[in-house]
């Protein structure tokens, strides 16, 4: 049971990070950027997640118990702003700003998701004597995440090489909107937003707790029963920047025939 639970928790917490990194690496590779920035981002994320794990207990007591939710929502807002800036830099060709936003974005996402997994990890190690199941579960979860990330990376590389950078940008926007929309629900659970009454419920088709539900949630923030505010924010967070990028793209990218010169 520990093995399965470790795999599920690792997938839930790590898959969004793997998705983001594979999308960024596809863009970086296409633009001929080196991958050194990823090392800095991972270091920042690991340090951040350890710091947050250490402080999250106190953070949870802030704002009459709403401290963690408000903190996550604020971070998600920052991550979304960084994502928009990163896409803008990608289409405009601003190298340094692209690297800075990529590092900050991966660092912040890893901080949030890593801290969640570390709380579980430390909790388990503090009272269990056999860490083998936990280690195996983490390795299995990591392998699944890595496989999906590689597939996504190859897909994005193909789209970029075929002259469809907007498809990759759309995936990034869906991912960012999903993260933002999820954090609205956290505010609702501590009564800082009104209750989210579900507009529809697709649990019978794809349940939130199914494998596909977890995967779609990590890729594009799928929720079986979203509230109206979540849907509005999600649509706006995807459509408005996509229209803006569509207009930018007409001037930024050459046709596939001359792309090899970049």
């Amino acid at each position: 049971m520990v093995l399965i639970n470790s795999v599920i928790l690792f997938l839930r917490d790590a898959l969004p990070v793997f998705v983001l990194i594979s999308l960024l690496l596809a863009f970086a590779n296409f633009a001929g950027r080196r991958w050194y920035w990823l090392g800095g981002a991972l270091l920042m994320g690991l340090a951040g997640s350890m710091l947050l794990t250490h402080q999250v207990d106190n953070l949870s007591e802030w704002l009459e118990g709403a401290g963690v939710e408000v903190f996550i929502f604020t971070c998600q807002l920052i991550i979304y702003a960084l994502l928009l800036t990163n896409l803008h830099c990608q289409f405009k060709g601003y190298q340094n700003a692209w690297v800075a936003t990529a590092v900050l974005m991966v660092g912040l996402v890893l901080t949030l998701d890593g801290a969640n997994f570390l709380v579980y990890l430390f909790s388990y190690w503090s009272h269990e004597q056999t860490p083998m199941a936990l280690v195996m579960g983490t390795i299995l979860g990591g392998t699944v995440c890595m496989s999906l990330a590689v597939l996504l990376y190859i897909g994005c590389q193909h789209w970029l090489a075929s002259g469809y950078p907007l498809l990759c940008a759309l995936l990034m926007l869906l991912w960012g909107a999903g993260q933002l929309s999820y954090s609205l629900n956290l505010l609702s659970q501590v009564d800082l937003l009104p209750p989210m009454r579900p507009v529809w419920d697709t649990s019978d088709w794809i349940a939130d707790n199914s494998e596909l539900g977890h995967l779609l949630n990590s890729l594009m923030g799928y929720e079986a029963a979203p509230g109206l505010l979540q849907i509005i924010v999600y649509m706006l967070a995807v459509l408005l920047p996509f229209i803006w990028l569509y207009r930018l793209n007409r001037h930024a990218y050459p046709t596939p025939a001359v792309k090899g010169e970049v």
Partner: protein, 116 residues
């Protein structure tokens, strides 16, 4: 007293009963088990759930049915607002110990109808 002050006072008075109407329910987590394991709440109303973790390890209160997840640290209390719920049964579990820490919120309407 100005008109604005009176309006403000009336608004505050109107807001008070709204806050007071949120009923509070308590769940206790002990030895990785939830007590009570079946919690009855009124349907159609927002309710406040206070979860007291009496274990010496953290636990994550999680429910796909209620769309809620919150980590509760050792010997701490955490508050989660749920609902308004339709009459029915809503499963919840402790994500770190899903085998043992399980329970149900049963939303019952005024006539006493809940799902079995």
């Amino acid at each position: 007293m100005s008109k604005t002050s009176i309006k403000l006072a009336v608004l505050m008075l109107l807001a008070l009963p709204c806050k007071a109407e949120v009923e509070e329910f308590e769940l206790v987590l002990k030895s990785h088990l939830f007590y009570p394991s079946k919690l009855e709440v009124p349907a159609g109303r927002k309710v406040k759930l206070v979860i007291h973790n009496q274990d010496d390890t953290p636990e994550e209160f999680d429910s796909f049915d209620l769309n809620r997840e919150k980590v509760i640290f050792p010997n701490r209390k955490a508050t989660v607002y749920i609902g308004p719920l339709k009459p029915g049964v809503y499963e919840f579990f402790g994500e770190f110990n899903p085998n043992s820490a399980r329970g149900q919120v049963v939303a019952i309407d005024r006539e006493g109808n809940g799902a079995d």
